[in-house]
């Protein structure tokens, strides 16, 4: 005879409702002892205080595309500051009837970046696409052919300027950084010293001072009447600056390689170029993807520092919009918009790098 009670216990008795499901999760994570319970209650209260007003400010009482006068009357957010000034925020001084050109150039750029994300597309043809795209973009921006009126670089501003400074900053700084890192590891004293001096000097000064040098000091050394394009000077400063940081990150990767890899390459009879290209660099660069992306993200964000040399990147065009007394009061809305814009770009970069890391992962 079996004991029915025991059997029932074994088969049918469920864990108490307080231990499973939502309640169980809450109990074990949020209310598992007195101070966690207290913290939970405080945080909940804070949320209750903050979120509903913020939500109604941003979405319920807000206005989206009205004049500044209407904004004065509303309690909520005045998102109108963005659509009412969108042309200037995005394209700055680019002549209004020509603004489709930087618009198209940006679409092309983004399309190609998205296309390049897939590693199956990493072939010779991709390089050719990039070359063609660069030429098309340059002619779209500058004009002067196909009957497009010329738009001087001092009129390039807003989002295209930000993207351009960031993209060329990243693309050019990376290889220079790798070369500098290899130079620093070099056995030739002259090259080694040169690289060390360069890296340490650049890392020893802030980007702002480099930009100032390029825009304020540099022209004084040029002969009278000779001026070098301001955008070009800023671009060069950004590249030189970022390259030094990339170099140190890559050096970290090179040092993480075990001695055996170098020796194995030597014993296969590979020369320096071959061993670096085929064995060392592919592994070293893979190791340092996370810190490299960190550096590249900061390059992207640092482009906003060009405001101090009066280049109108997207941050500056927004600020100028806010200098108009009509819109001055709505800086919060404008800055939130910019933050979202920067976040989208940076998040796309970092999530792509994580994907790349996973794909390239060959470790055991």
């Amino acid at each position: 005879m079996s004991n029915p009670t025991t059997k029932a216990t074994r088969e049918f008795l469920k864990p108490p409702v307080t231990e499973v499901g939502v309640i169980g999760w809450l109990r074990s994570n949020l209310f598992n002892n007195w101070y966690n319970s207290l913290l939970t209650v405080i945080v909940m209260l804070l949320f209750w205080q903050l979120i509903p007003p913020a939500f109604s400010w941003a979405f319920v009482n807000s206005v989206w595309n009205t004049s500044a006068e209407v904004c004065r009357e509303t309690d909520g957010a005045c998102w109108s500051v963005i659509p009412q000034n969108i042309n200037f925020i995005f394209f700055g001084f680019f002549p209004e009837d020509q603004q489709w050109r930087p618009g198209l150039a940006m679409v092309l750029l983004i399309a190609l970046v998205v296309y390049s994300k897939n590693r199956n597309h990493w072939k010779k043809s991709l390089g050719i696409y990039w070359l063609i795209n660069l030429v098309v973009m340059a002619s779209l921006m500058y004009g002067g052919i196909f009957g497009l009126p010329v738009v001087e670089t001092d009129q390039w501003s807003g989002l295209p300027l930000t993207f351009m400074l960031a993209l060329f900053g990243i693309v050019a700084a990376y290889p220079i950084g790798v070369i500098l890192a290899l130079g620093r590891q070099s056995k030739m004293p002259a090259i080694k010293t040169l690289c060390v001096v360069y890296i340490e000097m650049i890392r020893g000064v802030p980007l702002i001072s480099l930009l100032f040098m390029s825009s304020v000091m540099f022209p004084l050394f040029l002969p009278d009447g000779v001026t070098l394009d301001k955008v070009l000077r800023a671009q060069a400063a950004i590249i030189l600056f970022s390259a030094a940081y990339v170099a140190e990150v890559v050096r970290g990767g090179l040092q993480a390689m075990s001695r055996g890899q170098f020796e194995a390459a030597d014993s296969l009879g590979l020369n320096y170029n071959q061993s670096m290209r085929l064995i060392i660099l592919p592994q070293a660069l893979k190791i340092v993807i996370p810190p490299t992306v960190g550096v590249l993200l900061s390059v992207f964000k640092d482009t906003s520092l060009v405001v101090i040399i009066a280049l109108y990147d997207v941050l500056k065009t927004t600020k100028v919009t806010l200098s108009n007394p009509k819109w001055t009061s709505y800086s919060t809305e404008a800055y939130i918009f910019l933050a979202v814009l920067y976040f989208i770009c940076c998040y796309a970069m970092s999530s792509y790098s994580r994907k790349l890391e996973k794909e390239l992962h060959t470790g055991h």
């Binding site: 304020v216 022209p219 004084l220 009278d224 040399i309 009066a310 007394p325 009509k326």
Partner: protein, 339 residues
């Protein structure tokens, strides 16, 4: 060795001499280029700032346009370089710009040490105070013990400190970095007084939730004569810039506007005839087209017009003429005779 060192020195010296010899050709360089490169502020509404279509607007901008008209007869022959406060003088010295119209105060040290020539003032500014009406303050002398909102690191802060020290009054500065936050702080009541240049105060008052609740006190505690500047070395270029500004002032005095300038060509008044180039002479003296002053008034307007258009009582800034009225109306705007 000695000889080669000597050669180097001679080369350097001759290069320097050549530099000096070629300086003073600013006007030629501008004419060859076909446009004027003007340095402007880029951030100050009413003086130099692009509108939401990217078109430059402002009193300083229009001043630069007047110079372009004088030389090329075309207001569009000018390109604007936005400059920060730190960059502005270097940009002029290095030749990156030909003309600086960026609300720069004329001072002795800037004229001499920086090697600049300021021309006729195109806006007389000065630092003032704004208070909420309900405080009932009538004069800046009543401000003892006040908390005052001020931008950091500018001459504004210095001027305020000097003012309170000379008048033996106490004050508590509330220092805030950005102009817009400064205004919001003041409106929120965190400080009793806001101090800044009078032109800025007007702009701030305009964006107040209720502008009528605030008054600008009558005292002006500093002199800020804002004038266009060129670099040393080309007197003809300086004269042209100077008289382009003066022509606008003179036109207002003579009652010539962009509307009636064509009618005025038929005026019998020899002074008007000389001014508009009907009687020739002024243009040749400056090395310009005889119609230069006519063109400025026709395309840009007289001083009163550009003032009202950019900063006047009907704009967001709503600034009264005050010191910037003609001398005949109790202001400081005065032009020497055009003869």
């Amino acid at each position: 060795m000695k000889l080669s060192r000597l050669t180097v020195m001679v080369t350097i010296l001759s290069l320097l001499a050549a530099g000096i010899a070629f300086a003073g050709k600013d006007l030629d360089a501008v004419k060859k280029k076909g446009f004027i490169q003007a340095g402007v502020n880029g951030n100050v509404f009413g003086f130099g700032m692009p509108d939401n279509k990217g078109v430059w607007k402002g009193l300083d901008v229009d001043t630069a346009r007047a110079v372009a008209v004088a030389i090329f007869g075309d207001a569009s022959k000018v390109k604007f370089t936005p400059l920060t406060a730190q960059q502005r003088f270097t940009a002029l010295q290095s030749g990156e710009i030909d003309l600086l119209t960026r609300n720069a105060t004329r001072t002795l040290s800037r004229e001499t040490k920086l090697g600049l020539n300021f021309v006729t003032v195109n806006y007389y500014d000065g630092q003032g105070f704004m208070v909420p009406k309900k405080l009932g303050v009538k004069s800046a002398k009543d401000l003892s013990g006040a908390t005052i909102c001020v931008l950091p690191g500018t001459t504004t802060e210095q001027n305020a400190a000097d003012f309170f020290r000379t008048n033996k009054m106490d004050w508590t500065p509330v220092v805030i970095e950005s102009t817009s936050e400064l205004a919001q702080t003041f409106f929120a009541g965190r400080c009793d007084v806001l101090t800044s240049d009078a032109s800025q105060l007007a702009g701030t008052r305009a964006i107040a939730p209720n502008p009528k609740d605030y008054v600008v006190l009558p005292e002006i505690i500093s002199k800020e004569p804002l004038a266009p500047a060129v670099r040393h070395g080309d007197d003809q270029w300086r004269d042209i810039v100077d008289f382009a500004v003066l022509a606008m002032i003179n036109a207002e005095e003579m009652g010539i506007t962009s509307q009636n300038v064509d009618k005025m060509l038929k005026s019998k008044d020899p002074m008007v005839q000389r001014f508009l180039g009907v009687i020739e002479g002024n243009g040749k003296a400056l090395g310009l087209d005889e119609k230069w002053a006519y063109n400025i008034i026709k395309q840009v307007g007289n001083y009163g017009e550009i003032f009202e258009r950019n900063v006047g009582v009907n704009t967001t800034l709503g600034i009264e003429r005050g010191l910037n009225a003609l001398w005949t109306n109790g202001g400081l705007m005065y032009s020497p005779p055009f003869k």
